[in-house]
Symmetry: D2
Subunit: 429 residues, 4 copies
């Protein structure tokens, strides 16, 4: 739904605005891929990663499957086989091509994928310029969903590009022209108090939000405290130096087993060289900035650090209640750092709640009370993943700022850490 | 802490009572093993299962490691190697013998394990009859923990015996003399309403409870409804007949992947024969009782069934709030059915909240607000498992009744189903 | 066929002699199991190993499947399910129970397996005492095959018992009363020359031999030399000390990969303690005897040692041609060492060709020219394994002496080493 | 060694001829890649396959590692990291980049790999135009080895391209302009007799041959017969129709296990459509030519077919003795079919011994008597693979004709079938 729509049926100018936004979002996906070599587009560096080419095609498939096929009379797909190839996980919409084999597909080529995008864009323009007489509100809602979906994949693109480039001993940089701030001393960590009581979290009916953010509902929390900023690299390095990865005391059992088997001894992308730490970034190999938020932690590492600190992770309710009064700004993809940065002291409020790093919460990703999935195949978008994963909040340096909300729920399995994930400490008041 | 203690330091008679209870609980573990052949004691039918012999030794090790070694001056272990062999998962207490290899140990023999039990029992009697002058309260608390721990393993023994006997095409029965009730028609399912509001769950300070049940704390729930009884075998069979295992619509993504890979088409222990269902029980192969609660479901199956029903699983708060006013009785191990049974209509209240089958809740097993693990190695008892698992409530036909509480939190990974697990439906009011 | 038969139809006294031999062989299997605890009978310590109980039952099944069912009118099996449970790998005789799950079967119990043996023995006695009027020669041939089969499993029993007892940190000995020789200095290694030319290997038509040993056929070899005795523990320890397991130079590619992944640094059962080597034997943990033949090597280790020595393994033709003139005696199971022993100098001929350790040859286990497998399901006995395995020759300290022949071909995959396997060096003349 | 050299030190014109040949072989590798899209160059469709880009770089690394570094004074590598990245398996020459991860390397790009080739070519020209004063014979031998090595990779390139293109449901053709013969009726299969006796196989000292083909040595064979041509697609289809993949009778045990687990029901690249067979070729999807030799069989399938036919596979000695008198011509890569073809009747001799399909022999790939590996790291070229693999003979439609010899030994693991492999039947005379 158009973000400014106030009636159920969007007026023509709302659809025009939507088309405008469609073009902007679609263009951004392609801009993100400009620095890539053709060779980079096809690599799947682990099953969780998708080749950039696949992302570009899949987000187009989404518009094709859920808008062009059902809404545009006479729509002719560019290639019928793409409906199978670029279906991610919609079991009720045919049989998806096996996820772990996405990196084996040299064809369609990159050029063919861009042709597919152009084909879909042309048809989408036709649809939005001459919309059908009925179900226009549903159409607008789905376009908005498709755009939000594409924005999610823009962040995935950056995560996946970072991961795939890290496979080569050549250590190629994605871009050498990223903006870099002068590292600031991290502000001293302060504890910020929040009152307990009955509050409300989740997204209301107006405006776009994913189904998993709804309904808005009441929650009770006891009084609590949040750290004034995320945990820094220097603080995490102290945990390592104190035997963080060698003593089981602070670890969840599954986490301990994992780090033994995988041989983890530091966050993903950290490298020890001559006694100091470097970090692989989208801008290439850099010295670790001690004041920047620590990033690329699994849930297990985040919780172990919190235990070592004598603190804990916040619940998602605690996080969201604190965030409700905080302006939504920070180090997002628009800042063009593509790397978490040390921030200036925020004064009274919590710093860096938004942007920089996704913050692991201690909450499992489960449906809110009264949760209703979307109708039809779109119901597979979120609901079926609500088991075994943990919620992260706040967006990161690879997230589009206008994609984020205080109610936004991101989620990953506790072992995953190729996303830009860090943590903020919490404790009882 | 002894259940009858009223001061912090238990009086001698309290320790006498504790020793009496010690003997009862320890004797019960051995009674449960009486029907076994020597050969049954050693089998580990999957990594999650432990050989009965191992259970008998490990619960003794618990007393040795946490009571005899620290509290009994001059205690001489029977065999120092047992401290390694029968340590389950206490990483801060040496290196546990690898879990998946427990079934490879023909030695120590069954007789030697019983000797180990007798050795520990003798020392425990000495300890409780002539307790040290100080730290007696802590001693009593640990004895009670050791007994509750052994009771947990009594249920595990029955689960594991059932699983290991099921491996043989001989289909041996654990016991042929189990009490069997005449199958009753399952009572019609009614919806029972519960008001929303701020309530309290978790266990208070008095009496024994596991650390994970504490602290008692406030929770807010919206008004909700619970089904008057667990889902029955007949209802679950209808789900299967309606394509429950063949259509992805109702399944969590991980669940759908699992049932494809594992080829699951029914609950564990069900077998289709000549178009009808039979069920492997501790009493041997039986025709499926359509009115009894369905059992041996994974979380995935429970949630898929709920989705198919247009309902959901209750949260653990909803469950506990409903249970707080319900008398703690039901089909427990003492009834000697060792199998869930159809129950008579309970009249106004919910039936079978306690006993018969553990009921999967929709809540992830996470620490309560303000959770504090036990001190030292005993802190590994519960806390380190609080990730990736789901809470089950209410006990089952293999649980000792005096081991259960309304606040009792059981937990398993969502793919597991060799425990006696079923479900009760819930919905919004 | 009875070993003394001179006509195609064995006379009654030949069948009597066969029954006598039947009883002796069958009794020996049970004698080998006498030192076991009931618990030992059920353990499968790796998929290649079978529980002793299973061996005892399977060799009985062999007589049941190939003699009692086809030859004894009115034979009633003790339990029809055993035909599935104890079928090892005869795909054309029903569906074998999955090999890797043999250790999960607590039932039938040990006592029931002995009852099964008695049931089969009784029926076999009836069959041999009142043989059918026709096909008696075939019957006698099959009895002999069944006995040779059981002798093979007697050696497997000892291998498997050694392996399963080694799983427990208790390090139980199979027997504490084994005969032990005084360790002799190993004789200095001499090279023994053999002429080249056209020779014959393989077993002729007379007497029993497995199908894989036939037909006797011509082979050409160039002149060659064999070491006068097997490689000793001291020599192998020198290889280790020289970086044998740390440098890739001497290793087959698959072997190098294996030892990296498995972390092998010495033969199976060797343990480094305080800078010296001990060895787990069927008689318990012992100091390594430097003069005894090295044992429990994989093919990869044998070939790496040979490469390090500047020598090679003999081909099976070279080995057999050398063995044809050598008396068949040595350290077999009858000597009751159950461990390879240092031998006195043999004077002119090669020492220890027979007994002590199976000697890896450089020959792949393939059919001889003109090979014909047995008819029917018995054709699965050997032929279907003739790929991917290497030939070993000469028998070992766990082999019954009257089971061995100069033409005997044993075979294992190159990664296996729980058999009593060592090596003898060869080189060009 | 240069093929025309007649003294140990090649004269300048011999080096000129070698440089000329160098340029021809190197050019051919690049010509083979011309039809590829950039995207095709990077895909590794299974661990056995390498990305085309990797092949192009690795064969250049071979010249760099074994010629330019040791022989060209002042040689400057283009990038030192390539010495690690493009080392295939030479453990004694640094640590090879992990084989299974070759497909994860988007960098270096295809253009960079071609630059690497040009860099090496320039230096090789300098080396051959101004050779060092000494060790010129060794230099010439290594150049020839490098060229033969590159020719092996030319065939691998075609195998791997075929495999990787087959991953995409788009079914892209490598080339649409391949030469296609009119399918001829396969000639009737005749049996050709060969006498037994003492013969010689293996390659003599003159001319180039791989170390594994040497030394020439005496072998004894009994009289035997070979089929006049390879097994045809129609004959193999009859095996399938007769239950070839459903009955265990004809299969090696490991083969039967494999086809159960992998679900094989036909040769690789066959597809059943509407009751008929099609075949994926380098020219795209085609109807199966019933008269062409069957191709892309594993050893297990070849031996199962032979068993079903009542015949067997020839030994490599039988094959080579028959081939010694046969002119080396056939359907090689130069014919530009890139697919086995039905052949005209060959009259008296055996048809298609060379070219079309590699013929599985029944011989394990083992060292010949007196085998000596090359010196230094080049000794890893062949010798360390001489275990677990089977020999194939005769070359195929993807082999350069001047790369093949009657003594040429190809080898693959018995489960592999992405090479162009078929079979020819043999039997006793």
């Amino acid at each position: 739904m158009s973000r400014t729509a106030c009636t159920d049926e969007p007026c023509p100018s709302a659809l025009e605005a939507l088309l405008c936004r469609y073009r902007a979002v679609r263009g951004q996906s392609e801009r993100l891929c400009q620095p890539l070599a053709v060779e980079d587009y096809g690599v799947q560096s682990m099953p969780d990663v998708s080749p950039p080419k696949w992302h570009l095609a899949h987000v187009s498939w989404f518009f094709e499957a859920f808008l062009l096929r059902p809404f545009l009379p006479g729509y002719r797909p560019l290639d019928e086989r793409y409906d199978h190839l670029f279906n991610s996980y919609y079991q009720t919409h045919g049989t998806p091509f096996p996820r772990a084999q996405r990196g084996l597909l040299s064809r369609p080529t990159v050029a063919e994928v861009y042709r597919y995008r152009a084909h879909v864009d042309e048809a989408m323009a036709a649809l939005l310029e001459r919309p059908p007489g009925e179900r226009v509100a549903e159409l607008a809602r789905r376009v908005e969903l498709g755009l939000q979906h594409e924005q999610q994949h823009q962040e995935l693109l950056l995560m996946d590009i970072k991961h795939l480039l890290a496979q080569s001993p050549m250590l190629p940089a994605y871009r050498s022209d990223l903006r870099r701030s002068r590292a600031k001393p991290a502000t001293p960590l302060r504890w910020q108090g929040y009152p307990g009581g009955l509050g409300q979290i989740g997204h209301g009916d107006a405006d776009f939000a994913f189904d998993c953010e709804r309904p808005r509902h009441r929650v009770f929390v006891e009084a609590y405290q949040l750290a004034s900023r995320p945990v820094s690299n220097a603080e995490y390095a102290a945990f390592i130096a104190d035997g963080g990865y060698r003593r089981s005391d602070w670890w969840l059992a599954d986490g301990w087993t994992l780090i033994q088997q995988a041989g983890w001894q530091a966050p993903l992308y950290w490298r020890e060289e001559d006694g100091g730490w470097t970090e692989l970034t989208l801008g290439g190999l850099r010295e670790l900035d001690p004041d920047a938020p620590v990033c690329h932690l699994s849930y297990y590492e985040a919780e172990a650090f919190a235990a070592w600190s004598g603190a804990r992770l916040p619940s998602e309710a605690e996080w969201e209640l604190a965030a409700q009064g905080t302006p939504l700004s920070g180090n997002f993809v628009e800042q063009d750092h593509l790397q978490p940065m040390a921030a200036a002291d925020s004064g009274s409020g919590p710093a860096q709640l938004f942007g920089d790093v996704w913050e692991w919460t201690g909450s499992a990703y489960r449906p809110y009370p009264g949760f209703r999935a979307l109708e039809g195949s779109l119901g597979e978008y979120n609901g079926k993943f609500m088991c075994g994963q943990m919620v992260l909040r706040g967006g990161c340096c690879a997230t589009p700022q206008d994609h984020l909300r205080a109610s936004y729920r991101n989620f990953f399995y506790p072992a995953m850490r190729w996303q830009f994930s860090g943590l903020r400490l919490a404790r009882e008041a």
